[in-house]
């Protein structure tokens, strides 16, 4: 549909391959989101109380 597909393959070597992206797995992102939230809290603690590390 988009002429841009054709154009981009001219300017750069990257060719789109779908495997890099996951089939939308909402569970994965929810788990990752919770992990990120935990890391966020952990890093804020590391930033504010570095002497404990």
């Amino acid at each position: 549909m988009s002429p841009s597909l054709h154009y981009s393959s001219l300017v750069a070597g990257l060719s789109p391959k779908p495997a890099i992206a996951s089939k939308e797995k909402p569970m994965d992102y929810i788990i990752s989101g919770i992990t990120a939230l935990f890391l966020f809290g952990y890093l804020v603690y590391a930033l504010l109380r570095p002497e404990r590390f």
């Binding site: 988009s2 002429p3 841009s4 154009y7 930033l47 504010l48 570095p50």
Partner: protein, 604 residues
């Protein structure tokens, strides 16, 4: 680019440069409590203020007291503006009857969320406007609530910057000045006289200053037109000087009654950056080494000119798609050329691009053209300017303290590379300073990124309270990357207290009003409180004597380092977001794809 356009920018910069020292020197005298030529006239007013408010002029505050004073003052300011807006229907000077039964049909109701947003906006020196001034607010609100805040929030910003400068200048002191005194002096000696002169100048050039109701006029074609007027000049002058940017009218400085002539355009442009630029000299003067101030000026000037000379050519070269259609876009004697969508013909491309850069370098946020209509690269510049924490001259006060925070981070990293515990102006940069500077930078990044993320994915019920249009993206005027830029710009503008709008989003809904209001609060106080903590910590330190082993912070090397730190931190934080907004849009435009005002693709 045209020769005239380049000259316009060069002359502008030279005049700004010429203003820096005299203005900076004057401000240094004011904040050091020295006598100036204005004291004869204004000292009684200053003293009267102290007597009325019970301020002890010689009392010094610790940083915690200083911060508490800033917070208390801001809270009272917020409540004052909120209440006056909500009560505007009962208050005088409301010839158009806003918030009453006989308001004009197109009037915007003053809802609690809008009043909250506006009160926060003017208290934080953001001046984000979710409303159109001429269809929402009475003259009383404009004058007593908003114009007063234009002075107050600007003076508060300058006060915080001066407190930080004192932190550098003082040795083993436990206090950083007195907020109330700094606030009063900044208002009485700096903002008030400048704004008064400027307002008179604007009146003389045709800006209205009246309490009369809007005028009805019959046009040559027959239909009648309502012409909004009001006490514009008095608000316009401080709006520009105090890097506030909240226009009397919805179209801001593109409106002929806010900015009637090329001369007013030039002077208003100058007033955006004048005080912030002068403060770099004030800083140098107060730390007793003016070279330090000029180094900050040089770093700011370098980034300023670089930004202008990316934005201006991008706008002047215009849209390639129009060129393919055979539209003339080169400059000719009769037209400015380039991308003229959203620009005033009377101002042209160069002065519009210059304004867009200056207003976002500073936390001004006034506009004389619509940033939404800029080319992707032209629009990237204002967006990136804002995202680098507005340290290129920046807001009055906030630009200086923002830049000093970046200097602290830069000195810390580079200072280690000369083999010493990093020092800036003889003060050791240690845990507390690094921590607070990082907190300030992270807090604004958090606000921009997280709130934009929420906005682009959160599903909201259609016709609900929060956002009647449904999901927040339904409020975007454009689809694709351009719509994304609109959201990113809004939260960048609010979080960094800029106040300019990319526009293109309908933002007067509870969802946007509250989230943007929150962003403004986080951006203002998430930056001010760490700054004052640093000021307190620095003031308490000894000053290490400068030796040849000390990192010199006044040379070209330091200027380069500072520019590098600002740009690298900004770029690393926002590159992913920008690549999905203006950057991809730029490449798509080159390929002939536009994102017009299409209906957004619907999904559940």
């Amino acid at each position: 680019m045209t020769i005239n356009g380049v000259w316009y920018i060069v002359v502008y910069f030279l005049v700004l440069l010429a203003l820096t020292k005299p203005l900076g020197l004057f401000m240094a005298h004011v904040f050091e409590g020295e006598r100036t030529f204005l004291h004869r006239l204004l000292r009684p007013l200053e003293k009267l203020t102290y007597r009325l408010c019970g301020i002890r002029e010689d009392a010094e505050q610790r940083w915690t007291q200083y911060a508490a004073s800033v917070l208390a003052f801001s809270l009272v300011s917020f409540l004052f503006v909120y209440v006056i807006q909500r009560l505007q229907g009962f208050l005088p000077l409301n010839p158009m009857g806003f918030s009453t039964g006989h308001a004009p049909g197109n009037a915007t109701p003053m809802t609690p969320d809008l009043a909250f947003n506006t009160a926060v906006s003017f208290m934080t020196n953001t001046n984000w406007q979710s409303y159109g001034g001429e269809v929402t607010l009475s003259y009383f609100v404009q004058m007593v609530a908003l114009t007063v805040q234009n002075f107050a929030s600007a003076a508060a910003g300058i006060a915080v910057a001066i407190a930080l400068v004192r932190g550098f200048a003082r040795k083993q002191a436990n206090s950083i000045g007195n907020f109330w005194v700094d606030l009063t002096r900044g208002t009485v000696y700096i903002l008030l006289p400048l704004a008064l002169l400027f307002a008179i100048f604007l009146c003389a050039r045709g800006v209205p200053q009246t309490f009369r109701a809007y005028q009805k006029a019959t046009t040559v074609e027959g239909p009648t037109q309502t012409i909004a007027v009001g006490p514009v000049a008095s608000q316009e002058s401080i709006k520009m000087l105090g890097t506030n940017g909240g226009g009397f009218f919805n179209t801001n400085s593109a409106h002929p009654y806010e900015n009637p002539t090329p001369l007013t355009n030039f002077v208003e442009l100058l007033s955006i950056l004048a005080i912030s630029s002068g403060l770099t000299y004030t800083f140098g003067k107060m730390v007793r080494d003016t070279r330090q101030g000029w180094a900050l000026f040089a770093a700011m000037a370098f980034m300023f000119l670089a930004a202008v000379f990316i934005c201006y050519p991008a706008e002047q070269s215009g849209n390639p798609i129009l060129a393919q259609l055979g539209v003339e876009r080169a400059a000719t004697p009769t037209q400015a050329g380039g991308n003229m969508e959203g620009k005033e013909v009377r101002f042209g491309t160069a002065s519009s691009a210059l304004w867009a850069t200056a207003t976002t370098d500073a936390s001004n946020g006034s506009v004389n053209s619509m940033h939404d209509s800029y080319t992707p690269l032209g629009g990237l510049i204002p967006l990136f300017d804002i995202q680098t924490d507005e340290v290129i001259f920046g807001g009055v006060g906030s630009g200086l303290y923002g830049m000093l925070l970046y200097a602290i981070v830069g000195v810390f990293i580079a200072g280690l590379m000369v083999g010493r515990t990093p020092e800036y102006l003889g003060k050791k940069i240690e845990q507390k300073e690094v921590k607070m500077a990082m907190v300030a930078i992270i807090v604004t990044a958090f606000s921009i990124l997280v709130f934009t993320a929420i906005t682009v994915v959160i599903p909201l019920a259609k016709n609900g309270y929060w956002n009647p249009a449904g999901s927040p993206i339904a409020n975007f005027n454009n689809s694709g990357p351009h719509g994304f830029s609109e959201a990113l710009y809004s939260f960048s503008s609010a979080s960094e207290n800029n106040g300019s709008a990319f526009a293109g989003i309908t933002v007067n809904t509870p969802f946007y009003d509250l989230l943007l209001g929150l962003a403004m609060l986080i951006g203002r106080f998430g930056f001010i409180l760490p700054t004052l903590a640093i000021a307190g910590s620095l003031a308490a330190k000894k000053t290490v004597p400068t030796t040849s082993g000390t990192l010199p912070t006044h040379g070209a090397l330091f200027v380069g380092l500072l520019v590098g730190v600002v740009i690298i931190i900004g770029a690393l934080t926002f590159f992913p977001a920008l690549s999905l907004g203006p950057i991809v849009e730029h490449f798509l435009m080159q390929q002939g794809k536009l994102f017009s005002m299409l209906l957004f693709p619907v999904w559940s």
